[in-house]
Symmetry: C2
Subunit: 331 residues, 2 copies
């Protein structure tokens, strides 16, 4: 910057004023000088240093989106959404993967060290309320999607699944379903178990017994594995008339298995998923599922940028999204 100034015959301060447009004394530069400086910048191929700028202004002009793992249908949409809004506000987006305890801590540390001005944390598994508060206290605008946490200096978006899960069970009950199978994976976070419990208890309240042999707790991650689990289930002497899956992908695999076994969905076996992923709309039959109808992308970005824009520290806001039962063809 000093070099640019020297070449244009001005001081480095003048260059800075020109580049940053209207500041405290920034609009008082003659057109002539301006042109000379621009020429010098072009000739030298000068580019301002972001670290220095961030250090001086105490602002990085970056926001960070933290997702456990890219490659899920949800992360894709969320990332695109946040990136668009970020760029519209003059921020650039940094994506970070936080899958696993190690990585989550690592990202947390990076944010503490000033990686970005704000962050959206999607489903942090290991961070405590205190740590999040600490981060927010350090000046990072924080929005967290998580049912576990709450804070006074950052925002939280929660998902209320319970009611929709109960609705699903009641719907199936009302349509005469009584022989219910479950497809799940036991995971570290235990979110799947919670859903199973919720389903299970609702059935019990309705007086419908659950056969232990109908509860598959480890169907695997690959489609093929799920397919095989379900195929085996269908060969048992007494087969279920309903399959409640822990995710839409499991549900889709289940539909394949059922159709390949010569049975009809939903006439012979009803299938219901969880999550409402886009793929569910184009399967045959389209998938009945439980999830958010409108994704929470907008909520998260809205909270983040209102927080970034606010001159005074905002206190913690909480938004709750209700999940809904989305009736399509498979149940």
């Amino acid at each position: 910057m000093y070099d640019v100034g020297k070449r244009a015959g001005v001081s480095s301060a003048t260059v800075s004023f020109i580049l940053n447009g209207r500041g405290s004394g920034g609009d008082r530069i003659s057109e002539e000088t301006r042109q000379r400086v621009y020429r010098a910048i072009a000739e030298l191929g000068y580019v301002p240093n972001q670290s220095a700028r961030a250090l001086r202004r105490q602002k990085t002009d970056r926001v960070c989106l933290v997702i456990p793992q890219i490659g899920t249908p949800f992360s894709d949409g969320l990332a695109n959404s946040v990136q668009s809004v970020a760029e519209a506000h003059g921020y650039s987006l940094i994506l970070s993967m936080s899958g696993g305890r190690e990585r989550e801590r690592h990202v947390f540390e990076q944010l503490r060290r000033g990686l970005a001005d704000g962050a959206v944390l999607f489903d942090p598994e290991h961070l405590t309320n205190e740590e999040l508060a600490q981060l927010a206290h350090a000046g990072v605008a924080l929005v967290v999607q998580c049912n576990r946490v709450q804070g006074t200096n950052f925002d939280v978006v929660k998902i209320d699944e319970i009611k929709a899960l109960q609705d699903a069970v009641r719907y199936l009950y009302d349509h005469g379903r009584r022989r219910v199978a479950f497809l799940f994976n036991v995971t570290e976070s235990g979110i799947q178990e919670e859903r199973l419990q919720s389903y299970w208890q609702t059935w019990r309240e309705l007086g419908v017994p659950i056969l232990e042999s109908f509860v598959l707790r480890n169907v695997g991650r690959l489609r093929e594995q799920v397919y095989r689990s379900v195929s085996k289930l269908l060969q048992s002497s007494e087969r279920p008339d309903t399959i409640m899956a822990g995710s839409d992908m499991f549900a889709i695999s289940a539909v394949w298995a059922i159709r390949d076994a010569g049975l009809r969905v939903p006439e012979d076996i009803a299938v219901i998923g969880i999550g409402n992923i886009p793929e569910g709309e184009i399967t045959h039959p389209p998938l009945t599922t439980v999830g958010v109808v409108t994704p929470t992308f907008g909520d998260l970005t809205g909270l983040l940028f209102s927080r970034l824009a606010s001159p005074v520290p905002l206190d913690g806001r909480v938004m709750t999204r209700q999940w809904e039962l989305i009736l399509r063809g498979s149940a």
Copy 2:
């Protein structure tokens, strides 16, 4: 840092020496002082500022992975691979999406401004050789996966598709296939057209005519759209005995359509994909395709970190991966 020093009764330089371990005079601190400083750090919740550190050291300890769009099967694996290696080398990974001209330029600008010490650019569409050279000249360790570019101060990984595509055609020809349909999408980059041309020309050299009605140039992005296009194709009076798809996903949708039409794969119609995505292994039948057997993840990360580690500027290296015909069940 100064505050930490004051609390521990030492200067800020001492704190710095302790935090950075062995530097020019860093190992000469007594255990006693060390403990006092650590305590002060903990009590104050001090965390070093990354911008200041980067400014002084001219090094960010970050690498950036630039992908057009997350959510593709490839990007997922690549990101995980790079992140693991990066963290093992003491770097943190920043992910950036460069889809579209605007975003690609934006990421380029960020890198010029010193976002990271090194970057892997995956399939940049709009960047020129000069711009890449400029970026590398600015001190960014650069590895680019792209067939279009070459440089003397950055590394390039190229994919040689041609031979494998020809192998595929020849294989089909040898197995008596003569009525060939193509499934493609016209894209901005024109990569799909290139592949089509390559296929097409090989068939012509073998003296097999291509029916224009068998060339579908706009099958859409959604599975359902592809499915419908293929279903319609199958209803024509003279149906193809071979479908060459522009991607594995198209191929998978084609298989569904064929089976739902009561035909067999590969007996009635052979299907071949491009890309070798993981899903291809678990379909029924497993998908015959053209692609890399071992992913190029290792090449890219290897080149990047050897470049970052090298004390002298390396000249441009080029690696070429051959695509191969991967015979599975669908052709």
